[in-house]
């Protein structure tokens, strides 16, 4: 390679760096920086009244899995924490599966309407988004609480004599999250189904496939990118949900989000909060990796 060529290459490289500087700056300030702070905090000691004291410690990370007995100083498994983690993962998975079960027929229905109808139906799906999340969640609270709309109506109709306890249970959290995140499942599914060539259905039936076989072997593989996108869009915010479990789950049915908030508030254990935040991030990353692996299997239409 000639000297001139090398010089030109170096200049190009310099220009490339200069041009990407704004993007790099934003990434550093908005993403890497805060993450770094959280990471550092997770290795510090908790201050008496919140905040942190400078001093390196693994206590916060150890505190995620084990807790120290305040009387005899022995360590045992922090099963309360594990319960919270398990509840978060379980409810998020349930929400993802259920929004798919409800969302797929919905998206299919919308995608197969005439174009005029489609726009209107999609608008209806997105309407809840225009309302504040808190208000929507409190509205669900009003419906399902013991003296709420649902129980009052059931009692008035004489179907039950004691209110069915829904509020402040895992089921209430699941119900709320399903309602809140359903549009995030429907929209990517709609986009995928909308692109699906309906003539392939006739080709499938023509080649002796039953309805179930057409669904399993033709529709699902082709709209898989939409299924994966919808699942990610529902699962990840579900895992970190804060408002819904706070209002519908009460104090006892905490999820990771509430548990983290607790550490920065009443718990006054910022390092533990920081370590929990990092743990949540790791769980999300692992889930994403699994999804990507799943998406790229058999040919990768992801």
């Amino acid at each position: 390679m000639s000297e001139v060529q090398k010089q030109a290459d170096r200049k190009n490289a310099r220009n490339a760096w200069a041009l990407s500087a704004p993007a790099l700056l934003v990434l550093t300030v908005a993403a890497v920086g805060p993450l770094l702070i959280i990471l550092i905090y997770s290795f510090l000691l908790p201050g008496k009244y919140g905040n942190v004291e400078w001093g390196f410690s693994f206590d916060a990370w150890r505190g995620i899995l084990v807790s120290k007995d305040i009387f005899d100083g022995t360590y045992k498994l922090a099963d309360a924490h594990l319960t919270i983690f398990w509840r978060s993962v379980k409810l998020s998975l349930l929400t993802t599966v259920f929004t798919f079960v409800v969302g797929f027929p919905t998206a299919w229905f919308i995608a197969t309407r005439p174009p005029r109808w489609r726009a209107a139906l999609l608008f209806l799906i997105t309407i809840p988004f225009w309302t504040n999340l808190l208000i929507r969640t409190f509205a669900i609270n009003q419906i399902i609480r013991n003296e709420g709309l649902f129980n009052t109506a059931m009692i008035q109709l004489g179907l039950i004599d004691q209110p069915i306890v829904i509020i402040y249970t895992d089921f209430a959290v699941f119900l709320g999250m399903t309602y809140v995140y359903l549009p995030l499942m429907v929209l990517p599914l709609f986009a995928a189904i909308d692109r699906f060539d309906m003539r392939l259905l006739e080709a499938g039936y023509d080649l002796y496939a039953s309805r179930m076989q057409v669904l399993r072997r033709i529709i699902v593989p082709i709209v898989k990118p939409g299924i994966i996108a919808g699942s990610i869009l529902v699962f990840i915010p579900s895992l970190g949900a804060y408002v819904t479990p706070r209002i519908l789950g009460g104090g006892r049915n905490m999820m990771i989000g509430n548990f983290i908030e607790l550490q920065f508030g009443a718990g006054r254990n910022w390092p533990l909060g920081a370590a929990l935040s990092m743990t949540l991030l790791i769980i999300v990353m692992v889930a994403l990796l699994v999804y990507v692996r799943f998406a790229n299997r058999d040919g990768g239409h992801g």
Binding site: R199, Y208, Q213
Partner: protein
């Protein structure tokens, strides 16, 4: 009906749209498609040819009438219960599968064994000359190759009848010519009955054993390409298949008299009255003055085409007639615009249509 018929449609009617504004796609259509023949449904768009094909495939159900396959009523069976396969106009190949998986799909759904599927698919790949492309995805092959895969996929389960819905319309001219020959070869080699839908009369004439010419939801005529070209039953068929001159005439005692007074010899067996004569442009000849049946005409225009020239003539009564005249070796193309000439029609070439 004929014992040799593989498909029989009996008075099939199909209507689309609500009861308020029904659109009749097929109006009491009856036809018999014979075993092992290349049968073409020909007509302009909206004539009902694709609807008839979709009724045979099972994508639509008839409002009334019967569709029989090998003597068995199938009109209301779903498509996956009918031993017929379709080559779609858009090909409708499965984009998430390889060429091999596409061709094997029907066999897989029939529950055939893996080894058997492999064997048949290999044979199909060879038949349509796509062996090297077997592991490609369908978006990595050309339009003509997709066409071959669609054919192989529909042929693999060895259907009793293969339905082809304008399969060549998306190909360019040269490829279309190639595929026409290819289709004839495949039909010959597999011995499967082909039912082919097209609006291209040339395609229909060159490929078919028999043609059904359709318009407005009805079959006008069924016959061999030769029959349909030389003996069209009505004005629509004569006009749709090839070019035709229509000349109004009066029949008197077996002789047709044109408005200008000229007499034209016709086949016997037609009742007297007003009729339309149909003459192909290649059967219009330049005649010598005073010869029997010579009709005076004026040349309006003459267009040179190389192999022949198209001469636009006006008869005395104002009727316009096109003649296709062969050119001689010197390149002389016959009469020029403005010439006064005499024309007659080749013996036996004049068809009498009920006016």
């Amino acid at each position: 009906m004929s014992a040799d018929a593989i498909i029989e449609a009996k008075s099939v009617t199909k209507t689309f749209g609500g009861p308020a504004e029904p659109v009749v796609a097929l109006d009491h259509v009856s036809a018999a498609i014979l075993r092992n023949e290349f049968f073409t449904l020909l007509g302009p768009s909206g004539c009902g040819k694709t609807t008839l094909l979709r009724l045979i495939a099972g994508f639509e159900m008839p409002d009334s009438g019967e569709i029989r396959l090998d003597g068995e009523e199938i009109g209301h069976l779903p498509p996956n219960k009918r031993p017929v396969n379709t080559v779609f106009q858009s090909y409708a190949l499965f984009p998430h599968m390889t060429v091999r998986e596409n061709i094997g799909f029907g066999l897989l759904m029939q529950g055939r064994a893996q080894t058997e599927i492999r064997e048949i698919v290999d044979r199909m790949l060879e038949l349509v000359r796509m062996v090297e492309m077997a592991e490609r995805k369908t978006d990595q092959i050309s339009g003509g190759q997709q066409q071959r895969v669609a054919l192989a996929r529909a042929l693999a389960p060895q259907p009793k009848v293969l339905l082809l819905d304008e399969p060549l319309s998306a190909l360019d001219y040269k490829l279309r010519k190639e595929m026409q020959i290819e289709l004839k070869r495949l039909q010959h080699e597999t011995g499967i009955t082909f039912v082919f839908v097209t609006h291209d009369q040339e395609e229909a004439l060159t490929m078919s054993d028999r043609i059904a010419v359709m318009s407005n939801g009805k079959i006008n005529q069924i016959g061999s390409p030769r029959e349909i070209y030389t003996h069209p039953v009505n004005r629509f068929v004569a006009d749709f298949i090839g070019e035709t001159n229509f000349i109004e005439a009066q029949l008197e005692k077996g002789v047709a008299r044109l408005a200008g007074g000229a007499r034209v010899a016709i086949e016997t067996g037609h009742a007297d009255g007003a009729v339309t004569l149909a003459v192909r442009p290649e059967h219009v000849r330049i005649a010598t003055q005073g010869a029997q049946g010579a009709i005076p005409a004026t040349v309006a225009d003459s267009v040179y085409f190389g192999t022949d020239s198209h001469v636009y003539l006006a008869l005395d009564d104002g009727t316009e007639v096109v003649a296709r005249l062969g050119t001689d070796a010197s390149g002389h193309s016959g009469p020029e615009a403005g010439d006064k000439v005499f024309v007659d029609f080749a013996p036996g070439s004049v068809q009498v249509l009920e006016a």
